[in-house]
Symmetry: C2
Subunit: 665 residues, 2 copies
């Protein structure tokens, strides 16, 4: 059977390895969880369905448990309450299938994780519409192959990859305006901007004094800044000083200009920043933070029961910068925002340090801007921060106005349009739905606000509902981005897909799931971290390029030509249209540096042409009215057939040009 | 409205540009088509539905017509006979949706075109299960990032991309055996092999004397050879000689050993090879061929009414090679297979030249091995070659035993299990279903064998039905790989997705489509060319690595260590498991060359770890029990936090190691 390709012998070996390692990991995790839950913590196991033989659901789900021990999860029909749509969907869940020729209602923009890209999906069909290369080179779109995009990538550090986590859509008046997506690179401390007119990355900035950007968001309601959290604490600057003195390492919060992409200023803080979200009034920005212990090993990082969420008062920081109250490091104004900073004394600190249960990971502001939800996998609670109180509370701890107990491993929270929050439970492999105002009114630690839970498969990270990051949540579709898929799909070798599950949340019901219904599983290429969804009317991409939007020369058929610049440099200009390049052939000399500029002169949508030169690594993708340039060396004499990589017409195969490289002797 | 983002003014401009360019292209195409159809050709327009104002379906569909002129196709409800499933699907079409937790019935392997990869889909859900990087570097899987795969890519020409067209599954006894996929690189004359145990590319060969490989297939029934067609005619060798003497250019047919991937021999032929398929008995291999005129410009290439399909007698060629009757060029035995070759005189030519209507593109052998279908976009017919006659016919033209007239722009043919052929019609934007034996019995040029046509959207290239390339066609699902999608999906900027349409072919009905039913549209990232589908039981991937299958040292926790080799070289060995690297930190000196070897010691399926070093472009993806190695220079002093790129456990964020690079001074 294809879903289980191991022999019995191999299975036994695997189970043994797995059991040993898993036991170690579980012991480590349980110790940490116990620390937080304290002696009064309920026995989580006892509340979870049993799989027999004392194996509990928690045992199985936790952190990618060994499925061998329980015989595979997807086969356990008795385990989940919703392993197939058929079994429980009422007539009131809209069809997620989009019939041929019809359009999806929403765009979804997924970060690609260490694939380095943005993926664009249609929702609810979950069909991938396209991908936008960002930190990665990508030949299908010629990104990192033409001079324009290559130079941008080279100037931003010349890395071959990045690790994109948190896509943020630009806003006007708290609504997605369809201009840009901003996204971080965790691997190299960068932030990129995607232009949504052309669905192409148009800027990448390598942020000084920062090794790793994790959280990334725009200022709401009007994209005044882009904010970036540096996750890894390092010496500052990280030039060889203090390498063995971790107490000297620092983490900074950066603010960028969304148009120029200049780094405007940074704030140095204690601890280690993680995820970030803006309020809806342009003042406060909340950052989760772990490792306030400032340790360098896992035991040190998780020692204390509390870590401080940081709330940045952006106008106050800007005022300090304008007043010159900063130190410049690597050309960036850096403001001292540590606990001990004089800027944090008195009644108006620039950074408020809000103690929350250990290692909080998420921070997501509600669509109405009232609350910021903070949760971390090592406490079973979500802390509700009242944003209005940030300016007024004497004790930062008093800004926490609610703390419902939601389940094991809460990571991220999203929202509908009816006052409900939905939190992913990494360890429990569930999504929990709860009532926000009820949680504010309830005792801290109460489970009363919980409206229902639904199993997901398995270990969800981010979850996202339609437009939940803006002021206009739609309250219908939610996607759980599950980190493990185990046996949910046909096997594809040792690197598994993730599993993005589509859940309908448009119904409020008094049942086990609170009305949530699992609709579809979708395998996902490694490894998206987050997603953001916008109604189709919010995005208005161009169908052809406007030559005003680039600097390269628009090459018409008449402009097609070869110009020798000097003994070793040649410029070639060629128009491109169906079945014909503007030059049928051209001749250069062995060793010439050739700069080729090519324009797709067609004005018809969807008529894209390629320009490939075999054995020269040349590959341009030319959308209608676009021009790209590529520079290469013709270092081997011979005949090379330029051809079109997009199947563009009935004469596509015959669409060719010849580069003749004459031997130098 | 999001489906039409242009203003009226822009639309008018676009239409004008488009009309001008389109008119030129249409004139060129019509001239060519007329040449073939001759004076007796029916008026194709008159048989096609009218869109009013004298605009015919043919006008619109042809070669990516300007949609502006007819207001957009998807909106023309009166045009298609099947624009949505709802309108015409009977109760006898199985649901293509696969419920959560259930598996697809079939694997689909798509070539990625100039994306350079293989994409793996589930059928019928059409969900993308994973992608396999082949000619492209890909950070999600660390391919082209670790030393093993990087060296393989470097040795095969060190190109950053390739253009994969034709995936071929290895066979045993005419059935897919799940061992390998072989696929060509059109851009650089290469062939790669994907190992289906690990779903990873394990070999790439840069074929000597070949600039561009287009067709690629295995020998059936037992994968004795892999065959590769060189498409572009060049001087041989292409080292600067004869660059301006196109009459000296040649095209070769190559045979590779599927295990060693050595190039065993080549056959030089007239014309220019295109697509290739094997018979089912291990003797004949058929290659389509265009440009037998051997021209270098499109008008020359399409001048003549006939081009010759080449049928290679493989055992006969092997005999010549064994007997030493070849010329060695760049280390490869090259046999003369041109028309004038002495090997082609007499009764047993090694290559038969079969004249077919101009510029044939496809060649696909029927599952029973009786016929090879050949069609080209510039003739409305499919030529049926009787494979048994290849050995016996005096005149090669007599091997053509049928030639149904199927429609405009026939490109590719696939098969069900009931004697039907399905041919894509690029210009008509349709799939035509026809009866094979009826076509053999009918007059040449007859439309009698046609059972039905279905509209597809738009301009189909390859089409493929389940297991149609093996001896076991399933006859249920067919996918049309359409080159244009126009307004079928939400707009995503000037580079559009293709549209893969799922069609159910399990029903034979006496209706307009012959029972074919369009089930779903799927947007596709540029730009797949072909696909091949296998039942899930044919593929048995491993879920973890076997360390016997690689050369790197398996690094246990105890083996984790740092070894200084000399003043400037350090070797680092680290185990990897959930929440922990085997080394909490390690120190090197500025300028050191570091070779890092890392093993994921876990045995549990789906627990993949990453190993990334910020600002050093280091990125390993480690499946369970896998070991990878990477070599880099630690050229900037500082502290660098190694982290895991796969979200692996509740302590994933804290899973870190520190590389300390001490300053050299």
């Amino acid at each position: 059977m294809s879903t289980n390709t191991d022999t019995d012998e191999e299975e036994r070996t695997e189970r043994k390895d797995s059991e040993e390692l898993f036991a170690e990991h579980e012991a480590q995790l349980n110790e940490l969880l116990a620390d937080v839950e304290g002696p009064d913590a309920p026995e989580a196991e006892s509340t979870l369905p049993s799989l027999g033989d004392g194996v509990t659901r928690r045992d199985v789900m936790k952190a990618g448990a060994a499925v061998g021990a329980v015989g595979g999860l997807a086969g356990c029909a008795g385990l989940g309450n919703n392993t197939a749509t058929e079994s429980n969907s009422g007539g009131d869940v809209p069809d997620h299938k989009v019939p041929p020729g019809e359009h999806d209602e929403y765009y979804g923009f997924w970060s690609g994780g260490h694939a380095g890209d943005i993926r664009v999906y249609g929702i609810p069909s979950m069909r991938q519409l396209t991908r936008i290369p960002v930190f990665n080179r990508e030949s299908a779109k010629g990104y990192g192959h033409d001079d324009r995009t290559t130079e941008m990538l080279e100037e931003a550090g010349d890395y071959t990859w990045g690790d994109s986590h948190h896509p943020s859509l630009s806003e006007t008046d708290g609504k997605y305006d369809g201009e840009y997506i901003f996204v971080n690179d965790k691997a190299n401390g960068r932030v990129a901007r995607v232009n949504l007119t052309y669905f192409e990355t148009d800027a990448i900035v390598d942020i000084p004094n920062v090794q790793s950007v994790h959280g990334c968001c725009i200022q709401s309601p009007d994209t005044g800044y882009v904010f970036a959290n540096s996750e890894f604490r390092t010496p500052m600057p990280n030039d060889g000083r203090d390498v063995n003195e971790p107490e000297e390492y620092v983490s900074v919060f950066s603010a960028l200009d969304p148009e120029s992409m200049d780094v405007l200023w940074q704030v140095e803080v204690d601890g280690q920043l993680d995820i970030v979200d803006s309020d809806k009034d342009g003042r406060w920005v909340l950052s989760s933070s772990y490792n306030d212990e400032e340790g360098v090993e896992v035991e040190e990082m998780t020692k204390d029961d509390r870590d401080d969420v940081k709330a940045f008062d952006v106008p106050a920081i800007q005022e300090l910068v304008d007043a010159g109250e900063y130190e410049e490091v690597n050309g960036v104004p850096v403001v001292d925002g540590t606990k001990e900073s004089p800027h944090n004394e008195g009644d108006d600190p620039i950074v408020r340090y809000i103690p929350t249960p250990k290692s909080p990971h998420c921070v997501e502001v509600t669509p109405d801007g009232k609350y910021g939800m903070v949760a971390g996998k090592l406490s079973p609670t979500v802390s509700i921060i009242d944003i209005e109180k940030l300016a007024t509370a004497d004790d930062p701890a008093d800004t926490i106005v609610g703390q419902p107990k939601v389940g094991l491993g809460p990571l991220h929270t999203t929202y509908d349009d009816r006052g409900h929050a939905y939190t992913s439970l990494f360890i429990d492999s569930q999504v929990v739905k709860w009532d926000i105002e009820e949680a504010v009114n309830a005792e801290k630690g109460s489970e009363e606000p919980i409206l229902g839970k639904i199993d997901v498969h398995y270990n969800p990270g981010h979850i996202q509902a339609v437009q939940a990051m803006s002021t206009e949540p739609e309250g219908n579709w939610l996607v759980a981005l599950n980190k493990l898929s185990k046996d949910r799909f046909l096997p594809v070798g040792p690197i598994y897909p993730d599993n993005d599950q589509l859940i309908y949340i448009g119904n409020d019901k008094d049942d086990e799931t609170g009305g949530m219904e699992l609709v579809a599983d979708h395998p996902v290429y490694p490894e998206p971290h987050d997603a953001i969804f916008a109604h189709k009317d919010k995005i208005e991409p161009a169908t052809t390029w406007d030559p005003e939007d680039y600097d390269e020369e628009f090459v018409s058929e008449e402009d097609s030509r070869v110009e020798r610049v000097d003994d070793s440099t040649v410029e070639v200009y060629a128009s491109v249209k169906r079945s014909e390049y503007g030059l049928r052939d051209f001749t250069v000399q062995e060793g010439d540096e050739v700069t080729l500029t090519a324009t797709n002169i067609e004005g018809t949508q969807d008529i894209v042409h390629g320009l490939a030169i075999p054995e020269h690594d040349v590959n341009l993708a030319l959308a209608p009215q676009d021009t790209r340039q590529v520079t290469f060396t013709a270092d081997e004499p011979g005949v090379y057939w330029i051809y079109c990589t997009y199947f563009c017409s009935a004469l596509h195969l015959e669409m060719r040009s010849r580069m003749i490289v004459e031997p130098s002797e």
